[in-house]
Symmetry: C2
Subunit: 132 residues, 2 copies
């Protein structure tokens, strides 16, 4: 079955939202996600820094043979359910490409990047050469 890894940056700050000594908004987002029912096929993986620091809170979706997606400016207080809804839709695809209208609005509007899946090794000459 298709799967999705939901990477959650736990060190993210948000502009104007983080008291200096309080929990990081990224950690708050992780807690909010863990408090929701986990959709089938989705695993949540905390990560220290997704290097999207100017667009926190950030999350990323990846899985073998699928496009990877990164989203920013997630709100720990309001976005957890939509993030998981989007992760479930991603998990249900073969290639990670969820039809536009089926994506949560925060995924449609707050994409930071997407990256193609790693190709099979054979068709890439540079990789094939190295394997020989």
């Amino acid at each position: 079955m298709a799967q999705a890894l939901l990477h959650v940056c736990t060190t993210c700050r948000r502009e104007g939202a983080a008291p200096p000594d309080g929990p990081r908004p990224g950690a708050q987002l992780l807690a909010a996600l863990l408090a929701e029912p986990l959709p089938e096929g989705v695993a949540i993986l905390p990560v220290e820094c997704l290097s999207a620091c100017s667009n926190g809170c950030a999350v990323a979706l990846s899985a073998p043979d699928k496009w990877t997606y990164v989203y920013g400016r997630m709100d720990p207080e309001t976005h957890a359910a939509a993030i998981l809804q989007g992760a479930a839709a991603y998990a249900a695809t073969a290639d990670g490409l969820v039809p536009w209208r089926e994506r949560p609005e925060i995924f449609r509007k707050q994409s930071l990047a997407r990256i193609p899946p790693l190709p099979a090794l054979d068709p890439i000459p540079a990789l094939k050469d190295a394997a020989e």
Copy 2:
């Protein structure tokens, strides 16, 4: 040997830099990269849209078992050599983590995101369950 896939968005625009009917800055960046000597272990892969449209030109580095990196606001006229230098350094690592001081300045300052490598399947319960 370690390898690097350098994904180059060919549809990227840059703010104020693209005439409406001219070649896209992303395509110009691809051409500039292809005009430079290709470092050992690096393969250049054009891609239509990295979904980093507000931060074009965008490129991404990925490879099996390595962190993926995405960089934005690349300049086709001035950044090609530094991008390839950074890609070569990435290719030479086992995990994609290039020491900070060895990264080109544009990589240090213009990171859009990084994503952990896909884990081996066994340690991830959700994936392990699905494989059984």
